[in-house]
């Protein structure tokens, strides 16, 4: 119990990741190894590229969710918001395409960003100014966004204008030096997010608010502003994900983004962010999103699992991944 008299030497600061944070990466490594043993094709460049690219949407949205969850909030609306933003974006681009041609694509991206920031602001203000539990508030907006996309599509499909398809396609299917663009986008988002969370006043405050709202308040932090901004960041991330998503299938449907919110929350928690707030791990979140997609991929590539039991095996693997993470913290 005795405290040491002299101040111990300084620890290394910077971007280094301690062992306690290595959990999700260990789980990811274990999964890659198992995958390779099950089916060597798993490690083929093509498969890895496909799977990591696919995980980009969840990863990008989950990076936003890392802020919301670290600040003590929760956003259940991200899946339907993504669908809604996709719909708004496609409708806008289709409307603009005849007059401005392919310039409709960047304009559509801007519209997506503005709309989803507004959606995030809506979530944030309902939670902070309206003082409604985030779970309930975003459960409400989840229904609203889902209904809006269903209404916009009449229950069917809104497809992107043919004149824009080929111009926009590379945003999902293209690559730079062999690295698919969605991977580059998620890396960029993660870099910026890690900087904001670990190296700015806002990041500190975000975590402080999630750790203990009273301490934050007594330290002169505007809790409402910090929380609201977390939802806005979440909104911006949804927009970026939607921008990458649209060129993949070129359409928005009422089932777009269905249950993404659960995958997002799972990715965030696997990544080491505390669900009750006060601890955020951006790179862990990215690893979490990749883990989820790897698991789904492995289910198909392996021949052991009956198609009827896939979900059960996925559940077991997620729990094991969490246990690895928990044990590596000790």
């Amino acid at each position: 119990m005795a405290d040491l008299a002299a101040a111990p030497p300084r620890a290394q600061h910077g971007w280094s990741i301690g062992w306690g944070d290595a959990g999700p990466f260990l789980a990811l490594a274990a999964l890659v190894l198992i995958g390779f043993l099950i089916n060597p094709d798993f490690l083929s460049a093509n498969n890895i590229a496909n799977v990591v690219t696919r995980s980009a949407f969840i990863a990008i949205i989950a990076i936003g969710a890392t802020f919301v969850i670290a600040s003590g909030g929760l956003d259940l609306s991200v899946g339907s918001m993504a669908a809604f933003i996709t719909g708004v974006m496609i409708l806008f681009m289709n409307w603009a395409a005849p007059s401005v041609g392919t310039a409709a694509i960047p304009l559509g991206m801007a519209v997506a960003l503005v709309t989803s920031i507004a959606c995030g602001l809506l979530n944030g203000t309902i939670v902070t100014i309206g003082r409604i539990e985030p779970f309930i508030a975003t459960l409400g907006t989840m229904g609203i966004f889902r209904a809006l996309i269903t209404y916009m599509t009449n229950g069917g499909t809104i497809a992107i204008d043919r004149s824009l398809r080929d111009a926009y396609r590379p945003v999902y299917f293209g690559d730079v030096l062999g690295v698919p663009i969605p991977i580059l986008v998620s890396l960029a988002v993660a870099l910026v997010a890690a900087y904001v969370l670990y190296r700015t006043r806002y990041g500190r405050r975000c975590v402080a608010v999630g750790a203990n709202e009273d301490v934050a308040r007594y330290s002169g932090i505007s809790v409402a502003r910090v929380r609201t901004l977390a939802f806005v960041i979440q909104g911006a991330c949804v927009a970026i994900a939607a921008v990458c998503y649209v060129p993949r299938l070129g359409a928005a449907t009422p089932t777009t983004g269905l249950l993404w919110e659960l995958q997002v929350i799972t990715a965030v928690v696997i990544g080491g962010t505390a669900l009750r707030g006060g601890r955020g791990r951006v790179w862990g979140t990215v690893a979490g999103a990749v883990i989820l997609e790897f698991i789904a991929n492995l289910m198909v590539l392996s021949d052991f699992v009956s198609e009827y039991l896939v979900a059960a095996v996925q559940g077991v693997i997620i729990i094991i991944a969490m246990l690895i993470q928990r044990m590596s913290k000790r």
Partner: protein, 525 residues
């Protein structure tokens, strides 16, 4: 040091109920307690004192079955006893009253008392039997709350009593009190001590752990002193003064807890603008029409019972709760704060009384805690300057003598005294000219207390001004230049100089009498 082992029972007294022989405890190779022997006799109060980290709580947890000793033996009525879990000790008649209030706020008093040992008939909870038993138990210790009250609706003092009622449920032969008065105000303490004396009269063996040496002097029959995990000795309490106890605990002679006071003459003559003037403060439900003036370079004490509105006055001032003020002047300039951030910017710092709940992020490391209220200082242009932050921590650790095992420690791993120093360093990072400290030494040990008093004194010598809110009258009297006493949301008296005595403070805090009745009062300000 004359370690007068008074271990043998005087002839004619009953033998010990519980005896510990050469207890030792290691945690992952670190020895936190070694070679401690003591015995508890029926109808006797045995106090254990020692600084934080001396091993008091480890000892207490060994005796009550929360921990198993690494070495040594416990004897119950002379026979070796081994407690595998707290329930074993409980079954043997050993009860522990925790220092912290461990009650579920959303449940009723009765539900809390019976939590984990509910009375059920045929598998169905017998609420009535539990309520009646709870009511009887509460009546016995003179606690006036109803078993149906929700714990969140009753006062801190009553919660402590409920906790005692809970511990005493069933036949108890040994009751261990772990700093039961730490969270209580002065006049809440007496009824509690009466209960303890009553238990003793009934033949219960009592182990009493406390920082408040005056209480120990008043209550204890024997005193065991621990230092650095070892036993200094067991002493007959008769004739053992608090000063002697403090010396035994610290291991050196102790001159004075309080730093030398400033020259009162100098303060009285200071004609410069007051540091802070508050006029007509209202905090709905807590404070009514309070005005006060803090002079430059002064330590102004604010006494009163919990609930008198002391804390709420300043939370209102900083915009932490709804309030109105006729006027607030800082160094003569009218101001109004809407947030602690703005107050900090203008030079007013506030240390909360609740350092664990409102002061520090216990799960965070030290540096983020230190800079949380002053992030602008480590944010030169774009990102946080982590190296600069580490420098600030170095400086804080050095200037406030914060003792830590590792720089990567979390705030929650520091001892109470070091947490308080860290909190002080955190608030001082904004360089406040006016510092408001709420309960500066609650639950911390003597050595740290003395250091914190010295820090406060040196801060005012630098020209800052300080308001100290405290429930410990001794502390206010020893430290402050002047004391205001609040009662029921108003200022009920002002004391300075020789008028600052415990009885005067207590009188102002409790009686509705006006200043006239207080002898030697000092009218100024």
């Amino acid at each position: 040091m004359t370690a007068a082992h008074a271990a043998l029972a005087p002839a004619g007294l009953p033998g010990p109920v519980l005896r510990a022989e050469r207890l030792a405890k290691e945690f992952s190779g670190v020895r936190v307690l070694s070679d401690v022997s003591l015995d508890l006799r029926p109808g006797e109060i045995h106090a254990v004192i020692g600084e934080n980290g001396a091993g008091k709580s480890t000892l207490m947890r060994l005796l009550s079955g929360y921990l198993k000793p690494s070495e040594g033996t416990l004897f119950m009525d002379g026979a070796p006893a081994e407690f595998h879990a707290q329930a074993d000790a409980q079954a043997a008649g050993i009860a522990l009253v925790h220092q912290e209030i461990l009650l579920a706020e959303a449940l009723t008093v009765s539900e809390n008392i019976f939590i984990g040992r509910e009375i059920a008939r045929f598998g169905r909870l017998d609420e009535r039997a539990m309520r009646e038993a709870a009511a009887a138990q509460l009546a016995e210790i003179g606690c006036k709350v109803s078993p149906n009250d929700l714990v969140r609706d009753i006062s801190l003092a009553n919660r402590q009593l409920v906790q005692i009622a809970k511990a005493l449920l069933g036949t108890q032969r040994v009751v261990i009190f772990d700093e039961p008065t730490a969270v209580l105000t002065h006049d809440e303490v007496d009824p509690l001590l009466d209960i303890i004396v009553e238990l003793k009269r009934r033949g219960v063996a009592i182990l009493y752990i406390s920082h408040r040496l005056d209480e120990v002097e008043r209550l204890a029959d024997r005193v065991t002193v621990l230092r650095d995990g070892r036993m200094v000795g067991t002493y007959d309490a008769h004739g053992l003064t608090p000063r002697r106890m403090a010396s035994l605990m610290v291991g050196r002679e102790f001159a004075s807890l309080y730093p030398a006071r400033q020259d009162p003459a100098r303060l009285g003559q200071d004609e410069s603008t007051p540091a802070l003037e508050i006029e007509g403060a209202h905090v709905p439900g807590f404070v009514t029409d309070v005005s006060l003036t803090l002079r430059k370079g002064e330590i102004l004490g604010l006494a009163g019972m919990i609930g008198a509105g002391r804390t709420e006055l300043f939370e209102g001032l900083l915009g932490l709760r709804p309030s109105s003020f006729r006027a607030v002047r800082l160094h003569g300039k009218p101001v109004g704060f809407h947030s602690p951030a703005q107050a900090a910017k203008l030079g007013v710092g506030y240390l909360t009384e609740d350092r664990k709940g409102k002061g520090l992020l216990l799960e965070e490391k030290l540096a983020p805690n230190l800079t949380l209220a002053a992030l602008d200082r480590v944010h030169p242009i774009a990102g946080l300057d982590l190296a600069g932050e580490a420098d600030l921590l170095d400086r804080a650790v050095a200037s406030y003598d914060i003792r830590l095992r590792s720089r990567d420690a979390k705030a929650g791993q520091l001892s109470g005294g070091n947490q308080q120093k860290l909190l002080l360093a955190k608030v001082m990072l904004n360089e406040p000219s006016v510092l408001i400290i709420d309960e500066p030494t609650r639950g911390i040990d003597i050595a740290n207390k003395s250091q914190i008093y010295a820090f406060i004194q040196s801060l005012v010598r630098e020209g800052r001004s300080c308001i100290v809110i405290s429930s410990e009258m001794q502390e206010l009297i020893g430290l402050c230049d002047r004391i205001l006493v609040m009662r029921a949301g108003r200022i009920n008296g002002e004391l300075a100089g020789d008028a600052m005595t415990e009885s005067n403070v207590a009188l102002c805090a409790t009686s509705s009498a006006t200043n006239e009745k207080i002898p030697g009062r000092n009218i100024d300000g």
